[in-house]
């Protein structure tokens, strides 16, 4: 009896495997499909050809098809990862610190100074501020010596360097920014915003019990090296007060800022140019619940599900349009708010290159160009009321080729009549990065 039972169980395994296999061949999706969750294209059924058979490609692509199109794949992957992470003793904070996408961070970022020179008094003062209190103007001094840092201030009066940049890094960045500023007509301004990623921001935002704020010396140092028509904005100064007040400015499971955080940045940059800005409350809003972003998807650790995010989407005040742009001409239409998406792609439907334009239906007589990475996607709609056209470009290889652009930034500025340029990049693509030092530099002329 027991022998028969064993036999039947094992036979059942084989039959079950066979049935799943046949069902995969008959009913699985055969066409490649974009996975929003995994941010990649899932393999479809490969085409059988002698060439593919001969070089062994077919076996790999067929296996990819089976794994990618497996029934209930997402649940299966989640389940497998839950089991895999059973052994992990990593804390949520450590998990939140992983890279959610391709990043370049300068090597010296981990420099730490527990007994740093910051005055304990100053840090304590910040810690004792009421959440609603106005942001204290930090007016950070240009750092002495050859390096400048961004500091996380602790309530015990000490501080930790989040990033440290060499003077040569800043000089390189300044020279690139100056070349962009030189393209602008008289009166035009270059605004620079090098924003922290969520991995950095949440070291403060999620630890308000132990952290009192942050200080950045980088913007002031950079400001001293750039032309007069360049304004270097400090995200750390702009966001600090609202962040200490507990506002939801950065996602937790995704490396981007929220639209609310992006609004604060846009608002501050526009006000610095003398614009009367539209309050956030005037925008029509929708929310998307249950968002698990790039940091979660990196390892799919179930512990991060506790920090599930909500996406706030703010609609443009007037009906807006967006188009892909090549050779300085509008091509196919693109979404401004992509209603089909339930993740960060809801903003503009994601990045599309080489250039794109947003037309918010306003006639202000001014046009802007935003050089950005994906952080630009959620901030761009907030510039619509102040410019006729908001042009955007993301120089990362996945989105941009010079052949497609058919022109340098200099050509675009001239042909499109750009008045102001905004550089909106995350820290990964900021000072010392490949993006700023090389990609931006090589596309100026």
């Amino acid at each position: 009896m027991r022998r028969k039972l064993s036999f039947l169980v094992t036979l059942w395994w084989v039959i079950l495997c066979g049935v799943i296999g046949i069902c995969m061949l008959l009913f699985a999706n055969r066409t490649p499909a974009l996975s929003e969750q995994e941010n990649r294209t899932l393999s479809g059924m490969p085409r059988f050809s002698w060439e593919a058979m001969k070089n062994g490609e077919i076996s790999e692509s067929f296996e990819s098809f089976l794994t990618d199109q497996f029934f209930l794949r997402s649940a299966v992957v989640d389940g497998a990862n839950t089991v895999r992470h059973l052994f992990s003793a990593l804390t949520v904070d450590e998990l939140l610190n992983v890279d959610g996408e391709e990043v370049f961070v300068p090597d010296n970022q981990v420099a730490k100074e527990p007994e740093a020179v910051a005055s304990a008094e100053e840090a304590t003062q910040t810690a004792e501020q009421e959440p609603t209190q106005q942001t204290q103007t930090n007016a950070p001094a240009v750092a002495a010596g050859d390096s400048t840092s961004i500091w996380l201030n602790h309530k015990d009066g000490t501080k930790t360097a989040l990033f440290t940049y060499d003077k040569t890094d800043l000089e390189k960045a300044a020279s690139v920014l100056n070349r962009y500023a030189a393209l602008l007509p008289v009166g035009g301004k270059l605004h620079v915003m090098l924003a922290p990623r969520a991995q950095t921001a949440n070291k403060l935002a999620l630890h308000l019990d132990s952290e009192s704020g942050w200080t950045s010396e980088v913007e002031a140092s950079l400001q001293s090296l750039v032309s007069k028509n360049v304004v270097v904005h400090s995200a750390y100064d702009i966001l600090q007060n609202d962040m200490l007040g507990g506002d939801y400015l950065y996602f937790r499971t995704d490396h981007h800022w929220t639209a609310r955080g992006a609004y604060l940045i846009a608002d501050s940059m526009l006000k610095s140019d003398g614009y009367q800005t539209v309050p956030l409350a005037d925008y029509k809003e929708k929310t998307i619940e249950g968002y698990l972003g790039s940091i979660y998807l990196h390892g799919r650790n179930a512990k991060l599900k506790e920090l599930v995010d909500t996406i706030e989407v703010f609609y443009p005040l007037l009906p807006a349009q967006s188009f892909r742009v090549s050779n300085a001409y509008k091509k196919n239409e693109l979404p401004v708010i992509d209603e089909t998406q339930k993740n960060y792609l809801v903003f503009l439907g994601g990045t599309v290159g080489p250039y794109r334009v947003l037309d918010g239906g306003y006639h202000t007589g001014r046009t802007m160009l935003m050089v950005c990475d994906s952080f630009g996607n959620s901030i761009a709609p907030f510039f619509l009321p102040y410019y006729d056209d908001v042009y955007m470009v993301d120089f990362r290889d996945e989105y941009y080729t010079r052949d497609e652009a058919r022109g340098s930034v200099k050509d675009y500025v001239r042909r499109l009549g750009i008045d102001d340029i905004y550089i909106v990049l995350s820290e990964s693509n900021g000072v010392g990065s490949l993006y700023l030092n090389q990609l931006m530099a090589m596309n100026v002329d």
Binding site: W13, I15, G21, V77, A80, S88, L90
Partner: protein
């Protein structure tokens, strides 16, 4: 195709078993098995089926030729020719570039020969073919006149790409006549499931852990942990494949010999090698060591024979100096155990013997793992606490940040894997069955656990692209 792939588990295996058991006669079953095995091999690299067929054809025609030769000299010549020609494919694909480049570099030439793509499992099927030719020459087995049956022996899919190396004599009878009972089927599938779980749930996770380790010279713990994780990974990876091969063989009516017998609880290096990759050890013993004279020609000759055999064993694992060094390392250790240290080994308390053997084996795995000799030296020095910084000798440090991070990520997993590499579970099952007379409970528990294991393995295969076999290309 590899066993731990969805293509194999969901399509090939069920289809193969259905077709195989649908046939009643052994001839039809052999035909199905041969066609299935060729498809299995061709799925990854179809052109190399010709290489396998060539090697089989050489030993087939060679054995027919020398077995019908009347003069001893002719017979010997044809036998030698058969061996040489059957080894040409292996020599070309695996060793030609290595030796040619060594020779050219000796003469100061900058010419570098690119190694051709290695046919999967070429070392395994070539050795199987050679074992048949030698046994036929010795009269130990009958000459196979049916080419398809010989090709089936060489290409039979369970042991085709990663062993065990099955000697023709062991399955000569089963190729002509075999049966699968209900017990064979369920025990075979159970063994296959154990192997699948070992590979997908343990070896792959150890592989992930190893890939997240820092440079092995970073600290004392980085050096030791890298060696330990690699030792566990290679054991679970390779023994898992052997489990799956033995299990599938049994389902199909073949009884393959064991290839691993818990090698990490041995108290001498010689014993370790009697428990690790047993089929390879047997092959070298029977076809190289004994013909060289074994231990019958005095101590010096024995030592020389051991060094020759172990150099070849090292080279079999890969065409690189680190593998030769690894082989020689074991040759020297075993020669010492058989010679100068014989009495020391005998009188050493077993726990101490196990510990010393384990350390010796871990050092061996460092030689095996680090294909770059400088990296190898760096890891070995780090294990001793020595680091070289700007030409000066310094303490390597007990622990580095990345190793600590890896330990925090995987915590007790290496300990669990270490425990699973010891015969604890079989002992537990035996105890349940015999001491407590809980036969039903033990059986039910093993069925439930393995069912969960298979489900988890499939889930992991779906979610994970990290699935290499370490012994795949040996």
């Amino acid at each position: 195709m590899v066993f731990s792939s969805l293509t194999f588990l969901l399509l090939f295996l069920p289809a193969m078993l259905a077709a195989y058991f649908a046939c009643r006669s052994i001839r039809l079953r052999n035909a199905v098995l041969l066609i299935g095995s060729l498809i299995f091999y061709a799925w990854g690299e179809p052109v190399f089926v010709l290489v396998m067929a060539f090697v089989t054809l050489v030993v087939y025609s060679g054995t027919l030729a020398f077995s019908s030769a009347k003069k001893t000299g002719t017979k010997r010549f044809l036998f030698a020719l058969t061996l040489i020609v059957s080894l040409t494919a292996l020599l070309y694909f695996k060793y030609a570039a290595f030796f040619v480049n060594q020779i050219f570099s000796l003469f100061g030439s900058s010419y570098v020969m690119q190694a051709p793509r290695l046919p999967i499992g070429i070392s395994f099927f070539t050795f199987q073919a050679i074992s048949y030719a030698v046994d036929a020459y010795r009269g130990k087995v009958r000459v196979q006149k049916n080419f398809a049956r010989l090709l089936l022996y060489v290409s039979c899919f369970p042991q085709l790409i990663a062993g065990p190396i099955v000697q023709y004599a062991d399955i000569e009878f089963e190729l002509a006549e075999r049966q699968t009972t209900l017990d064979d089927f369920s025990a075979g599938m159970r063994r296959f499931a154990i192997g699948l779980c070992k590979k997908v749930l343990v070896a792959n996770m150890l592989g992930e852990m190893l890939s997240s380790m820092p440079d092995a010279g970073a600290s004392v713990s980085a050096g030791w942990l890298t060696a330990i994780i690699f030792a566990l990974q290679i054991y679970f990876d390779f023994s898992a494949y052997s489990d799956m091969a033995i299990g599938l063989g049994r389902v199909l009516g073949f009884r393959y010999q064991e290839n691993f017998r818990y090698p990490y609880i041995t108290s001498s290096v010689s014993e370790f090698w009697r428990r690790w990759h047993i089929s390879l050890g047997q092959f070298f013993r029977e076809y190289v060591y004994f013909p060289l004279g074994g231990s019958r020609k005095g101590a010096r000759r024995t030592t020389l024979n051991l060094l020759i055999v172990w150099s070849l064993t090292g080279l079999w694992h890969g065409a690189n100096w680190n593998f030769v060094l690894w082989g020689l390392y074991y040759g020297i250790l075993i020669a010492l155990e058989h010679g100068m240290l014989r009495y020391v080994v005998k009188r050493t308390p077993k726990p101490l013997g196990i510990l010393l053997t384990l350390v010796a084996v871990l050092v061996g795995w460092v030689l095996f793992y680090q294909t770059d000799l400088t990296a190898c030296a760096r890891q070995l020095l780090a294990m001793l606490g020595i680091a070289r910084q700007n030409g000066a000798v310094a303490f390597a440090g007990w622990m580095d940040a990345q190793t600590l991070q890896v330990l925090r990520t995987y915590t007790v997993f290496p300990l669990v894997a270490g425990a699973l590499s010891l015969p604890i579970l079989p002992a537990l099952e035996r105890a349940l069955r015999q001491r407590f007379r809980l036969q039903k409970t033990a059986q039910l528990l093993s069925v439930v656990l393995l069912t969960i294991g298979v489900v988890l393995s499939i889930m992991n295969l779906v979610s994970d692209s990290y699935n290499p076999f370490l012994y795949f290309r040996f």
